[in-house]
């Protein structure tokens, strides 16, 4: 169980609030240190003020094998500018002091393993981190980090994909439900992160398979890049993760307008958030 009053519980509460308002929870992603630390901090604050329910803070890694070109590039720029796991945790701490939105750290395993899972979880908790997504850490390998995170009241959030058979979805859901305050990250497609023109046709059938196997909220990510995608996700799931499209918007803007451009893209996507029909219809 999560330690009493754990930060992880704030994630479940954020999803419950969105559901209560009959809209899909909005989970924007910010790459820490991209294009620089100050801008990523301002962008995260701007997104929180614009209505983000949960903030995903990306930790750059040299070899991001689940990511497409957009996030690869952002991570490389952040690393070139000297971003480290430590500076990302410092950023999380500053954000925790400025906004109430629960923070979920998303990063690959090696920097965490290198620091040591216990030291990492301690630092993350002290920085106000509520949850972790580690895309190269399936439940089979997650034991040490899951125990360390749980001891510090942090939710470890697992991913399921359309290629996951029912039995694996059940296994992942069981691992995710061990503490019961997070969500299940549903990868919309077989592929890497990146903006796309349309969501896959089979999304509904996939989400129904997941829904049948967990009571946790479902958040859908990978390719969510238009308001109608957010609306479609809202009809099927509880949260929409948007990442590469926000980075694309930041990239396209002149240097002084980057934060505003990222927030504007988020607000545009958020117009798809209110539910116009009852949720859960697949």
């Amino acid at each position: 169980m999560t330690a009493s009053g754990g930060r992880g519980e704030r994630i479940g509460a954020a999803f419950a609030r969105a559901r209560g308002a009959d809209r899909v929870a909005l989970v924007p992603y910010v790459m820490a240190g991209y294009p620089d630390l100050a801008t990523s901090e301002a962008l995260a604050v701007g997104l929180a003020e614009a209505g983000a329910d949960v903030l995903e803070l990306g930790v750059p890694f040299s070899d991001p094998l689940a990511d497409g070109a957009t996030i690869q590039h952002a991570g490389q720029v952040a690393l070139d500018h000297g971003a480290t796991l430590g500076s990302c945790l410092d950023l999380a701490a500053r954000l925790s002091a400025r906004v109430n939105t629960p923070l979920v750290l998303m990063g690959y395993y090696n920097p965490i393993y290198s620091l040591g899972v216990d030291r990492f979880a301690e630092h993350a908790a002290a920085s106000g981190v509520a949850g972790l997504i580690v895309p190269d850490l399936p439940p089979e390998e997650a034991g040490p980090l899951a125990r360390a995170a749980s001891a510090h009241g942090i939710e470890l959030i697992y991913l399921v994909t359309p290629s996951s058979p029912d039995q694996r979805i059940a296994q992942v859901a069981q691992a995710a439900g061990a503490t019961g305050h997070g969500f299940v990250y549903c990868v919309s497609l077989s592929g890497v992160t990146g903006a796309r023109t349309a969501l896959p046709d089979q999304l509904g059938a996939f989400l129904a398979r997941v829904r049948a196997r967990t009571p946790l909220p479902l958040a859908v990510g990978f390719g969510v890049s238009r308001p109608e995608h957010v609306a479609a996700v809202g009809a099927l799931a509880d949260g929409a993760v948007m990442a590469s499209t926000l980075i694309d918007a930041v990239d396209a803007a002149p240097e002084r307008e980057r934060v505003a451009a990222g927030v504007a893209r988020f607000q545009w996507l958020a117009t798809g958030a209110p539910r116009t029909e009852p949720p859960g219809g697949v």
């Binding site: 070899d63 094998l65 090696n110 393993y113 190269d136 399936p138 697992y158 991913l159 290629s163 890497v192």
Partner: protein, 414 residues
């Protein structure tokens, strides 16, 4: 840190044949650190491989193709002038004489037959020096499979001849421009392709790296090297060798050579990594000599990384050794002390390349020259006895390296 004296466990004892275990671990190393998208595919691959391994028809077809297509068994050659030079009896296992010119064909053939058995019409592969790419393209041409090879932009320039060979064989070569533009980044890109096309595609990984069951599959298909060498040296010399030496990048030729000898406790096993410009500089690829445990490309193993856990760029004159990771079984062999790992730098490899060319009439791959360099160094240090039997795995031939070697020697080719 992994080696705090207060937390370091007692050195684990090598258990031959015990690993990988059900979790895909070799002792503490290995495992499956991959995106969820690939977990089902790895389960499918493991099940298919287990079934193939138990099927005498699969073994028979592999053996027949090894004999008639690859040209196995490759000879064990008594290198007389090299023996005189170093003061021991030196034998070369001639993987350079295998079809396509390197040991890579052993694994490519085995996995190609496995992919066909699994009904996967599309093969993806990564390549560094181009030898694995050529082997994969060759097997795909033979078996009628589509082949896409990912290759770092930097390596495409270093190995233009092999790029042309792959295209001639009908493969598509996709340049990788991310990161350090070498083998590491080619593997990243191949994994991204696999995540996207997992239903139709088999990832034919070229070294004993990656998530379980790859390190085991590659070891098994490469172990034909060590099985033959062991029988040949017993036949020729009447006893087991004292020392077996192989170069280590990802470590597939070395694990294929070492594994069949690892149960013979009196046979010393030494892996030779790329010392580049020297392991005291940052410009090397000596993972086991200078790295610490970490997670890259799906497995926990030794890794060259900075203090923050970011994987660092490596350097070696030989593209095939220019890799910051290493197969997890080598990490286990290192930590148990069953094998030792050393480094030979660019200059030593270049010199060994010339010595073997001029004194044995064999132009080795720059990768294999690292193994030769270590034996030359042992000879020069007087660490070999006249009746010592040394087997070097000559993992590939050096035709592909003419441009690199000419450049390093200051010769301009047209």
């Amino acid at each position: 840190m992994a080696h705090d004296t207060e937390t370091a466990p007692a050195r684990p004892v090598y258990q031959h044949g015990a690993f990988p275990d059900a979790r895909g671990r070799f002792g503490a190393f290995g495992g499956r650190f991959v995106p969820e998208s690939l977990m089902a595919a790895l389960d499918e691959l493991e099940a298919a491989y287990t079934a193939a391994r138990g099927d005498p028809a699969f073994a028979a077809e592999l053996a027949e193709q090894e004999r008639t297509f690859t040209g196995r068994p490759t000879p064990l050659y008594a290198a007389e002038r090299l023996s005189r030079r170093v003061g021991a009896r030196v034998f070369l296992k001639r993987e350079d004489l295998a079809h396509t010119g390197a040991h890579k064909i052993n694994n490519a053939l085995g996995q190609g037959l496995l992919a066909r058995r699994m009904g996967k019409p599309r093969i993806i592969a990564e390549t560094g020096a181009g030898q694995h790419g050529v082997a994969a393209a060759t097997v795909c041409a033979k078996l009628g499979l589509e082949c896409v090879v990912y290759m770092g932009d930097e390596d495409i320039h270093r190995q233009s001849l092999n790029v042309f060979r792959m295209k001639l064989l009908g493969a598509e070569v996709r340049p990788v421009t991310g990161g350090s533009r070498t083998l590491k980044d080619a593997i990243n890109e191949a994994i991204r392709d696999w995540v996207t096309n997992v239903a139709s595609t088999h990832y034919l990984i070229g070294s004993a790296v990656g998530p379980h069951p790859y390190p085991r599959i590659v070891r098994d298909f490469q172990s034909v090297i060590g099985r033959e060498a062991r029988a040949q040296v017993l036949d020729t010399a009447g006893r087991l060798p004292d020392l077996v030496v192989a170069c280590v990048g990802g470590g597939s030729n070395a694990i294929g050579m070492f594994h069949p000898f690892a149960g013979d406790p009196d046979v010393r096993l030494v892996g030779v990594e790329a010392g580049g410009r020297g392991i005291e500089t940052a410009a090397h690829a000596a993972t086991l000599v200078a790295g610490r445990p970490g997670v890259l490309h799906g497995a926990l193993s030794y890794l060259l990384q900075n203090e923050d856990g970011q994987v660092v760029e490596t350097h070696s004159l030989s593209a095939g050794l220019d890799y910051p990771g290493v197969g997890p079984e080598h990490s286990y062999l290192k930590d148990t002390g069953r094998a030792a790992y050393v480094a030979a730098d660019d200059n030593a490899a270049l010199r060994a390349f010339q010595v073997l060319s001029q004194e044995e009439g064999i132009i080795p791959a720059l990768e294999s020259a690292h193994a030769v360099a270590h034996v030359l160094a042992l000879g020069e240090r007087g660490e070999l006895r006249p009746d010592d039997i040394v087997v070097i795995n000559l993992s590939g031939r050096g035709d592909k390296d003419m441009n690199t070697v000419a450049g390093a020697l200051g010769v301009t080719l047209d």
